[in-house]
Amino acid sequence: MSVQTEKALAASLKKLLTKKTLEKITVKDITDDCGVNRQTFYYHFHDVYDLVEWILTEELEELTGEIDAENWPERMRRIMDRMMEDKSFVMNTYYSLTRRQLDQFLQKFIHPLIEAQLDRAKSGDAVLPEDKKFLADMATYALVGIMTEWIASGMKPEDSKVFGKVVYLLDGILDFVVDKFASPAGSY
């Protein structure tokens, strides 16, 4: 029952975001739209930003849940599509969070995905954990950087092709860099 309430509040926020910006939306606006009282909202969330974070977490978890070596380019595509469907929510989130907060949030999801890719590479086991983390950091920063720049410049559909290029690049390159760091370890 509780998740239902959270989902209903999330739907109300998304609906309101098509009409006004995040900082102009009050908890009262959301609860009026949803037909619950402020108490119910605050039972679940600290404030509007807490609800935003909940939405992001829910959706990203859903999208990155069953990702594997084969489907990850397609999953990335779906993440981008979903972001474009929810453009007003994503743009509003972008403008209401600091760049640092957004980076950290996206990194939290992208980093494990990249790590999983590195683990699957042929020589994955031969790479030191600290090197593996370094390689995952590199790829995560690249992906998150491209993503946030795309959002910042207005999420133009024609610019989303760049993600295809990133996925294409990482797909080949991860195996290569893992090999490079596997033998002989520590030659840098």
């Binding site: 009282n37 402020r38 108490q39 909202f41 605050y42 039972y43 969330f45 600290h46 404030d47």
Partner: protein, 350 residues
């Protein structure tokens, strides 16, 4: 201090906490040195001195109690407790409260007792507004009381969740406490349960709530009200031992008896030297709690109907938070009696 200044102060204090959390036994003395240089010398002077004595005697009952805060309490709850109680309610709020005190020429309480009553009392929005007003004046600690409090879970958890920068305590028999309740407290992290203890066979009912609270690694306290008639139930070593066995780390004793003939108060002072439990007596612990706390000096109460009352034992009221602001209530004649230099005349002890 400015908002930016406070943010820097908070970051400094939190990084200190993280340092302490890594190795409490090793780093605690260093933390106390550091706090002494950080907080104004007059803020909590007696308390900090006492704290220093505790950490310097490693074989003492107090030291055992302190170390148990790390072994028995959830890491995030302990961190929130530190952030809300030490940083927000004291280090940062003290300046705001002092400014308000001077500006408005009235007392600003450290803690406000809120009486919840689902059927006949103020609702969430009204209490939320009172808490917002209190925070702007410099109060960041609140205690809930009321009948069947745990049966009205949503309102209380919602208030805690919204005011994540405040520390809350709920006084309850614990009868309605269950796993889901404990789970919600663990989620919001800023609610301490204070269990009413009667010193009779009824206390056996405490086995259940204390088992739950202990399992979820939540901090809890005991609340004991006594008078001439029932004081002998509490003035024994076995009563204190029973609290300790139930995992109680802090006991609040409340009584309006005079010092002479108060046997509980005698025992509290005796056991404080030997037993690993922190007992505080209102209002006999004048040195520890800074004299009379009433009239907003440290404490005030609001009943279910919104009447502002000066003391746990004195229910006079000439203001109501439904019809006027909290500030005007604190400036009202009933509260001004307590806004004096030195000790106000006590209207409670009879």
């Amino acid at each position: 201090m400015s908002i930016v200044g406070n943010e820097i102060k908070r970051l400094g204090l939190m990084s200190m906490y993280e340092f302490l959390d890594k190795d409490p036994e090793e780093n605690l003395p260093k933390l106390v040195d550091w706090l002494d240089s950080y907080i104004h010398p007059d803020v909590l002077k007696v308390q900090r001195q006492l704290f220093r004595e505790i950490i310097e005697k490693k074989d003492s009952n107090w030291y055992q109690l302190l170390v148990s805060l790390w072994s028995d309490i959830d890491d995030d709850v302990r961190k929130t407790l530190f952030e809300n109680l030490i940083i927000n309610a004291n280090a940062l709020a003290a300046e705001t409260a002092e400014k308000s005190r001077r500006k408005y020429d009235c007392n600003i309480p450290w803690v406000i007792l809120i009486t919840l009553d689902k059927e006949h009392g103020l609702d969430f929005d009204a209490w939320d507004d009172v808490i917002e007003q209190a925070k702007s004046l410099g109060t960041f600690a609140f205690v809930f009381q009321g009948h069947n409090l745990l049966a009205n879970k949503e309102e209380m958890i919602a208030l805690c969740n919204k005011h994540a920068d405040c520390e809350f305590m709920v006084c309850t028999t614990g009868r309605y406490l269950d796993d889901d309740y404990a789970r919600q407290i663990l989620r919001v992290k800023n609610l301490i349960v204070a269990l009413n203890v009667t010193g009779t066979d009824a206390d056996r009912a405490l086995d259940r709530p204390t088992e739950i609270l202990r399992r979820f690694k939540l901090p809890y306290a005991a609340l004991i009200q006594y008078d001439r008639g029932n004081q002998e139930r509490f003035a024994t070593g076995s009563f204190f031992d029973c609290l300790i066995e139930h995992g109680v780390k802090m006991a609040f004793f409340l009584s309006s008896m005079p010092v002479e003939g108060d046997h509980v108060w005698e025992k509290i002072q005796e056991f404080r030297k030997t037993k690993p439990i922190m007992s505080i007596n209102f209002c006999k612990d004048r040195e520890l709690i800074g004299g009379c706390v009433a009239g907003g000096r440290y404490f005030c109460a609001i009943d279910a109907k919104g009447n502002l009352q000066p003391c746990f034992f004195v229910h006079d009221s000439d203001s109501n938070v439904c019809t006027d602001t909290l500030l005007h209530g604190l400036q009202s004649p009933v509260f001004q009696r307590y806004h004096v230099d030195g000790e106000p005349e006590c209207l409670a002890i009879k």
